[in-house]
C-alpha cells in the first residue's frame, strides 16, 4: 500500500490537490490539509453530525467518509455558504433567532438544513425535526433552530 495518495477535490468551488495518508478521513483533509476548520469533530463515529458537509450534493458525516471516496468530488462546507460578506438565508436566520448558542453544532446543522430546504422548500416542524435528527445540539433544545429554518425557508420561497 502506498504511504500517501494524491487526492483531487473541489471544495466550495475551489479545486484542490492534496497528498494524504490512505486512511485519512474527509474531515481531516478539510480541517488539517485545507485548514477549513469550520467543520467540527464532536464524536468521530457519525452520531453528532457536527462534521456534516455536502459531498456531491449529498449530506454526509465527513468523519465517516474515507478521503479516497472524495476523489474528484464536489464538497460544500460551512465556509462555502455565504456569498462573500452576505450571509445565506439560513445563516442570517440562525443569527436572528439565536439558533447558534455555543456554535459547535452550527456548521453541521446549517449544512443539513441547507439540504433540507433544497429537498423540501416549505417544511413543517416535524419535517425539520426529521431532517435535523442526525445533528445533535446540547444548548438550544432545538426550538430556535426550528424557527430559523422556517424563516429561511420563507425567505427562499419569496425570492
Amino acid at each position: 500500500m502506498a504511504d500517501r495518495i494524491d487526492l483531487n477535490l473541489t471544495v466550495n468551488g475551489a479545486d484542490h490537490r492534496v497528498s494524504v495518508h490512505p486512511f485519512t478521513r474527509l474531515l481531516d483533509v478539510l480541517r488539517e490539509d485545507l485548514r477549513l476548520t469550520g467543520t467540527k469533530e464532536g464524536c468521530g463515529e457519525g452520531e453528532c453530525g457536527a462534521c456534516t458537509v455536502l459531498l456531491n450534493g449529498q449530506v454526509v458525516n465527513s468523519c465517516l467518509v474515507p478521503a479516497v471516496q472524495a476523489q474528484g468530488a464536489v464538497v460544500v462546507t460551512v465556509e462555502g455558504l455565504a456569498d462573500g460578506e452576505r450571509l445565506s438565508s439560513l445563516q442570517a436566520a440562525f443569527l436572528a433567532h439565536n439558533g447558534a448558542q455555543c456554535g459547535f453544532c452550527t456548521p453541521g446543522m446549517l449544512l443539513s438544513a441547507t439540504d433540507l430546504i433544497h429537498r423540501c422548500p416549505n417544511p413543517s416542524d416535524d419535517q425539520i425535526r426529521d431532517g435535523l435528527a442526525g445533528n445533535l445540539c446540547r444548548c438550544t433544545g432545538y426550538a430556535k433552530i426550528l424557527d430559523a429554518v422556517h424563516t429561511a425557508a420563507e425567505r427562499e420561497a419569496a425570492r
Binding site: L87, A133, C139, Y142, A143
Partner: protein
C-alpha cells in the same frame, strides 16, 4: 439595551464557521498529546512497561517524577494528583499515570496501546452504601469528602404527634454534560526574558482556576502563567473544574518537549474520564397535620463524590440548602454527606446538587399528596414559602414571592385540570398509550452559596479603546449562554450607548481581571452588577477629566473616549464585589442568607407512555419562571429551552452505565441525549420581579431550568400509570417496565 433581544455578539463568526475553537487554532510543529490511564479502580502502581515496536526515543514522556512543582490539582481540597507515581495509590479506573506526545497522531495512539501498567489491585468501593459501610475505608478516616448539617427547630417531638408521617427514598443517576466540543487544550511553555512562561489556550469556563492550578503545578509566580479561553463548544459545568487537570497535562508535555502540544480528547475518552453530575440518594421524612400543613422535614442527602473531593463539598452545599424545597416548615433537619468511591470524580454540572435534592422533594410532595388524599396542587399551595417566612437556614424571604401565582400560571398554560379530567377517562380504555400531566415547583439560589462571593471578591472593568468604543474586561467566559452579549447590554445601558459600541475583550489572564469563575448562575447578576458600577465610574472619570460633557450623544461619547485614550494612553476603570448590607452567613452552622436571592419556577409536563415499548414521549412542556428583570429575552428563552431539554434527558434517557467503576457506554451511540425528534416546543414564560441586587434588576438564570423537568416528567408518569415506585431517574424504558411489573407481580 437591557430588555432588548440584541443579536449574539459572536454569532456572525459562529454561523460563518470562522469562530476559532481550541482545536481550530493552528500551531506549527505541534505535537499530539495522549494520556495513559489505569484500567482498574484501585491499586498500587508498581511499574510502567513500554512495549516493543515503538520508537520511544522520539516520544515526549511525562510521569509524576517529572513534575516541577506540586503534584496536586488546586481545588477546594488539594487531594488529586495530576499523575500517579510508582508506588502510589491508584484510586479510580481513569487515573492518569503517563503522558506522551509525538508529532504523528497515529503513532502516538499506537504507542498508548503499547504501554502496560503493572498494578497491584486493592479492593474498591463502587457505590454509596459500601462507602458508608467503610467496606473498605478508602478516604480519610470516614470515607466522607464533606458532611453538612442544617437545623431549624426540632423535628424529633413532632413525629409522634403528627397526624401523618410519610417517608420516601429517591435516587438520581450520573449525567454527562455532553457539550458537543470535547475537552481540548493547547499549550506552549517557553522562556521569555529569561523566565519560563507557561501558556494554555483551552476550552475552559474558569481561566483563573486553570491559572491557579498551573502556578501550583509548576511552582511559578502569577506573571509567568497565562491562560486564554478560546471559543467554547458548550460546557454546562463540564469545563469548570476538569480543565485544571487536562490544562496541567498539556502544559507538562509542552514544558518537557519544548514544543506546542495539543491535548484534544476524543469522545470516548472524554466520556470515560471527565466529570459528571453526582449520583445521589435522598431519604425524606415529612410530618403533616390533619389539614396537610407541613410540620417537620428530615432529609438524609448523599452524593457519590468519586475518588477525590474536586467540587463535591460545594455541590453538596447547594444540594443541602435546596433540599427543603419551596415550602414553609417550622422544624427541619438536613444531613448531607458526599462520600468517596473508587470512580472517576464527578464535578460541576448545571444545577450543581440542586437537581438531585429537588427531584427528591418534588417527587415526595406528589407522593405525600396521594397518601394524604389531597390534590398535589392544593398541598403545595397550602405550604408555599411567602414573604416573611424563614427557610431552613434561617434566611427570611424578603421579596414579594407569589409561588401560587407562578404555579397557577403554569398549570393554566398546560391545561392541567382539563387534561387530568380527560386522561382519567381515556387511560382506563384499551390501547397502549397512557397520558399524564405533572409539575414541579422549585427555586435556584443565585450566585455562590454562603460566603463564596466574598471569598472570590471578583473584579471586572471597562476599557476605552483608541477608536472610541468600549471593551468589557472580565474573565467570565462565553460558552453559548450569551455572556458577551449580555455584558455588552449591561455596560451599554449604564453608559446610555447603543450596544454596538461595546464589545468584550479577549478572555486572557494577561488582559482581564479575575471576575471569578463562569458558574453558579452568577455572571449576569454578580459580574454584571460590578460592570454596571465600573461603567458608571468610567463615565464619571471622563466627565471629571474634562473629556466628556453631559448630556452626550453616542457620537460625542465615542469622540471623548478616543480623545482620552490618545491623551492618557490607557483608559480603564474597575469595580469590585461588595457584600450587600444585611446579608449574613455562617459557614460552620449553615445559618443565614445562603444566597442573596433566588429564582423561582413552576414547570409542567405532559407525557404519553407507550405500554408496548415503555417509551415515554414528552408531548407538551411549560416553563414559568421569575428571574428578575430579563436582560435579553431571546437569549434567556434559549437558556431555558436548552436547560429543559437537558433536564428531560436526565429524567428519561441519559444513563451512565458503570462496570467495575468504569463508564461502559462511553459513546454518543449508546449514551442517549435528546435529538430534534424527541422534544416538544417548550412554552417559556418569564414573570419579571426586579431584584435590587442585580444589574437593571436581573437575577440568575442558567441553572434554574435543570432543576424542574425531571420531577415534573416523573410526576406526569405517575398521573399516567398510577402509583408505581417512580423514585429514580433516569426513568428509562427498562426501569419503567421493571416498576410496572412490580405492581403486576406484587
Amino acid at each position: 439595551m437591557i430588555g432588548a433581544s440584541s443579536i449574539r455578539k459572536e454569532g456572525r463568526a459562529k454561523v460563518l464557521g470562522t469562530a476559532i475553537y481550541t482545536d481550530d487554532k493552528f500551531m506549527s510543529g505541534a505535537l499530539h498529546g495522549l494520556t495513559v490511564r489505569s484500567e482498574v479502580p484501585r491499586g498500587i502502581l508498581r511499574a510502567i512497561h513500554f512495549g516493543e515496536g515503538i520508537p520511544w526515543e522520539e516520544f515526549t514522556l511525562v510521569t509524576a517524577a517529572d513534575i516541577p512543582g506540586t503534584n496536586l490539582v488546586a481545588s477546594v481540597v488539594d487531594d488529586q494528583p495530576f499523575l500517579v507515581g510508582i508506588g502510589e495509590e491508584i484510586t479510580h479506573s481513569q487515573q492518569a499515570v503517563l503522558l506522551l506526545a509525538h508529532a504523528d497522531r497515529h503513532l502516538a495512539e499506537k504507542a498508548r496501546r503499547a504501554v502496560r501498567l503493572e498494578i497491584e489491585e486493592l479492593p474498591a468501593v463502587l457505590d454509596i452504601q459500601s462507602s458508608l459501610d467503610l467496606q473498605p475505608l478508602i478516604y480519610g478516616t470516614s470515607n466522607l469528602l464533606k458532611e453538612i448539617r442544617i437545623a431549624k427547630g426540632d423535628p424529633d417531638p413532632i413525629w409522634a404527634q403528627a397526624a401523618h408521617v410519610i417517608e420516601g427514598e429517591y435516587r438520581t443517576g450520573a449525567q454527562e454534560q455532553m457539550y458537543i466540543e470535547p475537552n481540548a487544550m493547547l499549550s506552549v511553555v517557553e522562556p521569555k526574558d529569561g523566565l519560563l512562561q507557561v501558556t494554555v489556550w483551552g476550552s475552559l469556563q474558569c481561566p483563573y482556576y486553570v491559572h491557579g492550578a498551573l502556578k501550583q503545578l509548576f511552582g511559578l509566580p502569577e506573571k509567568q502563567v497565562r491562560v486564554v479561553a478560546m471559543e467554547m463548544g458548550g460546557a454546562f459545568g463540564g469545563k469548570e473544574d476538569y480543565p485544571s487537570v487536562n490544562g496541567g497535562h498539556a502544559a507538562l508535555l509542552a514544558w518537557k518537549s519544548g514544543k506546542p502540544v495539543r491535548l484534544i480528547y476524543d469522545r470516548e475518552e472524554d466520556l470515560a474520564c471527565t466529570t459528571k453530575r453526582h449520583p445521589s440518594r435522598t431519604r425524606l421524612r415529612t410530618a403533616f397535620d390533619a389539614d396537610g400543613n407541613l410540620l417537620a422535614l428530615e432529609a438524609d442527602f448523599i452524593l457519590d463524590g468519586g475518588a477525590y473531593a474536586t467540587l463535591s463539598p460545594v455541590v453538596l452545599s447547594r444540594g443541602a440548602v435546596h433540599a427543603a424545597g419551596v415550602y414553609r416548615c417550622p422544624h427541619v433537619r438536613i444531613h448531607a454527606r458526599a462520600v468517596a468511591t473508587n470512580t472517576p470524580p464527578p464535578g460541576a454540572f448545571r444545577g450543581f446538587g440542586a437537581p438531585q435534592s429537588l427531584f427528591a422533594m418534588e417527587r415526595h410532595m406528589d407522593r405525600c399528596a396521594r397518601k394524604l388524599g389531597l390534590d398535589a396542587v392544593e398541598l403545595r399551595r397550602k405550604n408555599f414559602l411567602r414573604m416573611g417566612d424563614t427557610m431552613a437556614t434561617g434566611q427570611v424571604i424578603r421579596e414579594d414571592l407569589d409561588l401560587a401565582g407562578l404555579m397557577d400560571r403554569a398549570l393554566t398554560a398546560i391545561g392541567y385540570r382539563d387534561k387530568r379530567a380527560a386522561f382519567a377517562l381515556t387511560n382506563p380504555e384499551d390501547g397502549p398509550i397512557k397520558r399524564g400531566v405533572g409539575f414541579s415547583v422549585f427555586m435556584h439560589g443565585c450566585g455562590f452559596t454562603g460566603n463564596g462571593e466574598s471569598h472570590v471578591a471578583s473584579v471586572a472593568g471597562v476599557e476605552g479603546l483608541a477608536d472610541g468604543t468600549v471593551a468589557v474586561l472580565a474573565a467570565s467566559t462565553e460558552m453559548g449562554q450569551g455572556k458577551n452579549t449580555v455584558f455588552a447590554q449591561i455596560v451599554a445601558e449604564a453608559l446610555q450607548l447603543p450596544v454596538e459600541l461595546v464589545d468584550t475583550a479577549p478572555v486572557d489572564t494577561d488582559r482581564v481581571p479575575n471576575s471569578g469563575p463562569t458558574v453558579a448562575s452568577r455572571s449576569t447578576m454578580m459580574v454584571g452588577r460590578i460592570l454596571e458600577d465600573a461603567a458608571i465610574g468610567f463615565k464619571q472619570a471622563l466627565v471629571q477629566q474634562g473629556f466628556l460633557a453631559e448630556p452626550y450623544t453616542p457620537e460625542t461619547f465615542q469622540a471623548a473616549v478616543a480623545k482620552a485614550v490618545a491623551a492618557l494612553g490607557s483608559l480603564r476603570c474597575y469595580g469590585q464585589y461588595h457584600r450587600p448590607p444585611g446579608l449574613q452567613w455562617n459557614d460552620v452552622t449553615y445559618q443565614g442568607d445562603a444566597y442573596p436571592t433566588y429564582s423561582w419556577a413552576c414547570y409542567a409536563a405532559e407525557v404519553a407512555v407507550d405500554l408496548d415499548t415503555y417509551e415515554v414521549k414528552v408531548a407538551d412542556f411549560v416553563a414559568v419562571q421569575e428571574v428578575g428583570r430579563v436582560v435579553n429575552p431571546t437569549l434567556a428563552a434559549g437558556q431555558i429551552e436548552g436547560g429543559v431539554a437537558q433536564g428531560i434527558g436526565w429524567g428519561l434517557w441519559e444513563e451512565v452505565t458503570m462496570q467495575r467503576g468504569r463508564m461502559v457506554n462511553n459513546q454518543m451511540t449508546n449514551y442517549i441525549i435528546p435529538t430534534a425528534m424527541d422534544l416538544p416546543r417548550i412554552q417559556v414564560v418569564f414573570l419579571e420581579n426586579a431584584h435590587a441586587g442585580g444589574p437593571g434588576g436581573a437575577k440568575g438564570i442558567g441553572e434554574l431550568p435543570m432543576d424542574g423537568p425531571a420531577p415534573a416528567v416523573v410526576n406526569a408518569l405517575e398521573n399516567a400509570l398510577g402509583a408505581l415506585r417512580l423514585d429514580e431517574v433516569p426513568m428509562t424504558p427498562d426501569r419503567l417496565l421493571e416498576r410496572c411489573e412490580e405492581v403486576t407481580h406484587g
